[in-house]
Symmetry: C2
C-alpha cells in the first residue's frame, strides 16, 4: 500500500495530484479492469467474471412482479425511502437468513446498494489510515479495493483447503499486536469463498470466532454464496453463534438478480446508528423500487425453488469445469473442488506468471483472472481464478481445454529457460 | 467540526469509541432525523421534507415501461453493469443536459445512486481532514453531512436574494489563503437552491466561475431543480461555460422518480478515472434495472411534457404557500419568492429559536426544518425552510396558517421576556 502523493508529475498541467485527497493516490485502474473489457467479447470464453447466470430466472414472471408493484404501489416504490432500508424487506431478510441459522431483529439490518456498499460503510466507520484489516489469503478483489481506498494495511492470513487456518490467525494477531498495530476486523467469506471456492467447516468457524472474541476483533462475515451449496446445505453462518462480534453481509445478487443491487448488513446494535448515518451520507437511501421488487418476489414467488434451480445450473457447470481440468490440465497443476458457489482456484508450478500469461490466453480465446488480483501484496503469481458460473458447460470445456494448451506451452517454455528475459 | 475521539466513555462496554475510525466521531444522529419520523405522521402537515410529488406521474405507464423492459431485456437489466453507468443512458443524459446549454461527452458522465453518491465520491477524491469546502450560507443539509464525514472544514459564503455574493466569495478566499488553508472546491446549487429557493442570475454565474478559475478552485454545481422553473427557463448551467473547472451533478429524482435513485456527475476528463474507481469501490456498479427504466422512459415517453406537468403541480403549491404566508405571517417575518423548485426560506425576528419552536409546531400539527440544519456552524436559529412540494395546496394553506399562530405566540412570548429560561 502506497499513500505517498506524487506531486508535480509531468502530464499534470492542472497540478491535480496536489489537489486530490491523499487517499486518491491509491485509486489506480487495476489490471483486472482492462481484462474484463477484453473478456466480454463474444469470441472469448470468459472464465474471468463472476456474473451470475440468469438463464434460470423466468423473465415473464419478473416482468409481472415489477408491473404489479408499480401499478399497485408505485407511489411508494418510486419515492424516497428510509435510509436504513424498507421495513418490510428487512423482515423478509430475517426469513432468508434463518435458512443459515441466524436469528435476527429487522431493526439491526441496513439495506445497501449491493453488499459492496456495506463493505464501504464498514470501512468508513472503522478504518483510519494504517489500521490493519485481516483477510484470507487470497481474498475478494472488490473488498481489497475498498480497504485500500480507506488506506488500511491489509494482512493476509493463510488458508488451506478447509479455509482460514485458525493457528495462522492466532500467530498473525500476536505479531501485529507485538508491532503495536491496530487490528480493526477480520474479513472472510466462509462459504464457497471468492476466489477459491473453499468452505470453512463448522469447527473452524467456532475456533475463529473464539479467537476474535478473545482479542476483541470484529468478524466481517461476507456470505453471498451460502445458499448456493450443490450437495448439502452449508454449515450455520458464524453470525448464528455470535450476534455481538459478527458483522454479517448478505446479498440478493446471486440468489435473485445482481442488477437490482440489493444487499444488506446485519450488525450488532451498537454499530447500527453510525452505519445508517454513513449510508445516508453516501447515497441518502437505497432504491425503494429495487427493494420492493425483491420484497414482492420473496412474498409471492417460490424463491426457495428458484434458488434450487440456480444450484442445479451451477452444479452442472462446476462438474464440467472439474472434469475438463482433470482431463486436460498438466499433472503439476492442482485446484480446489468447490461444493458450491462460482469459483475454482488453480495453482500452477511456481515459475509460471499468470499475469504475463493473460495475453496468450486471450489469443487462445479464453480469459481468467490472475492470482495476484486477490492479494494486496503481489503474491499469487502462480495461481488463477476460474469461474464457471456464466458460460454453458460446452463453452467451459472448450475454454478449459484451450487454457490447458496455453498452460502446457508456458510450462515448457519456462522449463527450458526462455523466461529469464521476462522476469 | 469536532474530530476528537471520546475514549473510555461510560456506557461503552465494548470500548467502541476506541475501535471506530476518527471520522466516525462526527457520525451523530441529526436533529432533522427525528423530526422526519414525526413529520411523516398523517395528522401532521409536513412542510419539512423534500419528497417529490408523484401524483402527476402516470403509474400505469410506468408499470408498462418496467414490464416491457424486463420482458424484452431482462437478462441485461437484472445483471451487473458497468461501474461508470450504462452507455445508452449516459448518451440520453447528454440530451437532458442540453436543455440547460451543456454540451457533453457521454464518456465524461458517471451514473450514481442519486446525486448524493456523486457528492460522496467527489468528497472522497478531494477531501483530506481539515481541507476547506466553500458552500452557500445556508446550504443543502445532505451535502453538509457528507463533507463532515470526510472531516472537511465547511466555510459558508454569504448569499442574498440573488444567490451567492461574488464579492463575499473573493473575500473568503483571500482570508482562507492568508491562513494557509487548502480550499478544495466551491459547492453550490444555482437553481432554486435548497434551502432558499433562490436563483443565481447569469452574470453572477460568470463572475463566480471567473473567480474560481483564477484561484484554481473546482466548482461543484449541484442542479436537481434546474428544469423545474415555473415561469421561465433557468439561465444556462455554469457547466455550459466551463468544462474544465466545473463538476456538474444532475439527478432524475425530481424530474422522474426519486425511488429509482439515479443521478450523475459530469466531470472534467482528468477526474473521471478516479471517480469511477471510487464508485466501484463504493457500490461496484449502479443498478442496471433502474438505469434502464430511466432509459426506456426517456426513449419512449413524452418526458418533456411530464416535466411541464410537474412544474404546473409545483407552481400551484408555491402560490398557495406564498399567498398564505402573505395572509397569515407577521410583518416582522420575511421570506424568499422562489421561481421554481421546492422551497421557501423564512426569516423570523432574531430572538426566535426555530429549533426550540419545533415541538410547539408539532403540537399545532405542522412541521418544518429549522434553519440551523443548513449551516455547519450553528447559525440560522431565526430561520426555517418550508417546502411546498408534497402536500396539497389546501394542506399547505392549513399548515402555514397553523404555523403562523405558533410563530406569533413565540414572538409575543419572546418579546415579553418569557424566553430567558430556555436559552
Amino acid at each position: 500500500m502506497s499513500t505517498s502523493i506524487r506531486r508535480h508529475q509531468t502530464g499534470d498541467p492542472q497540478n491535480l495530484e496536489e489537489r486530490f485527497a491523499t487517499r486518491a493516490a491509491g485509486m489506480q485502474a487495476s489490471e483486472i479492469r482492462s481484462l474484463f473489457a477484453v473478456a466480454s467479447r463474444p469470441e472469448i470464453v470468459s472464465l474471468a467474471g463472476g456474473m451470475p447466470n440468469l438463464s434460470a430466472l423466468p423473465m415473464q414472471m419478473m416482468a409481472s412482479v415489477v408491473h404489479d408493484l408499480i401499478a399497485t404501489n408505485g407511489a411508494e416504490a418510486l419515492q424516497y425511502g428510509s435510509g436504513q432500508g424498507h421495513p418490510k424487506l428487512r423482515e423478509q431478510i430475517c426469513d432468508v437468513m434463518a435458512l443459515e441459522g441466524i436469528r435476527a431483529n429487522p431493526d439491526d439490518i441496513i439495506v445497501t446498494t449491493g453488499s459492496q456498499q456495506a463493505l464501504d460503510l464498514i470501512s468508513r466507520i472503522f478504518i483510519d489510515p494504517g489500521d490493519v484489516v485481516l483477510v484470507e489469503a487470497p481474498s475478494y478483489v472488490g473488498a481489497l479495493g475498498t480497504f485500500r481506498q480507506y488506506e488500511a494495511q491489509v494482512v493476509h492470513v493463510t488458508m488451506d483447503d478447509q479455509g482460514l487456518v485458525p493457528e495462522a490467525l492466532r500467530q498473525a494477531i500476536i505479531s501485529l499486536r507485538a508491532a503495536r498495530q491496530k487490528i480493526k476486523f477480520l474479513y472472510l467469506i466462509p462459504n464457497y469463498q471468492n476466489p477459491t471456492g473453499v468452505l470453512l467447516p463448522a469447527d473452524r468457524r467456532s475456533e475463529i470466532l473464539e479467537i476474535c472474541q478473545g482479542e476483541r476483533i470484529f468478524v466481517v462475515e461476507d456470505n453471498p454464496y451460502g445458499l448456493l451449496g450443490f450437495d448439502k446445505p452449508s454449515p450455520n453462518a458464524m453470525r448464528a453463534q455470535d450476534s455481538e462480534n459478527v458483522i454479517y453481509l448478505g446479498s440478493f445478487s446471486k440468489t435473485i438478480a445482481a442488477g437490482l443491487r440489493v444487499g444488506w448488513a446485519l450488525v450488532p446494535p451498537s454499530l447500527k446508528e453510525k452505519l445508517v448515518i454513513a449510508s445516508e451520507s453516501s447515497i441518502l437511501c437505497p432504491s425503494n423500487f429495487t427493494q420492493l421488487t425483491i420484497s414482492s418476489y420473496l412474498a409471492d414467488q417460490p424463491w426457495r425453488d428458484q434458488i434450487a434451480s440456480f444450484c442445479e445450473l451451477y452444479k452442472v457447470r462446476r462438474d464440467a469445469m472439474l472434469e475438463s481440468l482433470q482431463e486436460h490440465f498438466p499433472a503439476s497443476a492442482t485446484w480446489t473442488k468447490p461444493g458450491g458457489g462460482f469459483y475454482v482456484w488453480v495453482n500452477l508450478p511456481p515459475e509460471i506468471d499468470t499475469k504475463l500469461m493473460v495475453p496468450k490466453a486471450i489469443v487462445a480465446k479464453v480469459a481468467y483472472v490472475p492470482g495476484t488480483a486477490f492479494y494486496a501484496d503481489g503474491f499469487g503469481t502462480w495461481a488463477m481464478r476460474l469461474s464457471y458460473c456464466h458460460p454453458t458447460p460446452e463453452r467451459i470445456r472448450e475454454g478449459v481445454k484451450a487454457l490447458s494448451h496455453v498452460v502446457k506451452q508456458e510450462i515448457e517454455r519456462r522449463g527450458s529457460g526462455y523466461s529469464i528475459g521476462n522476469k
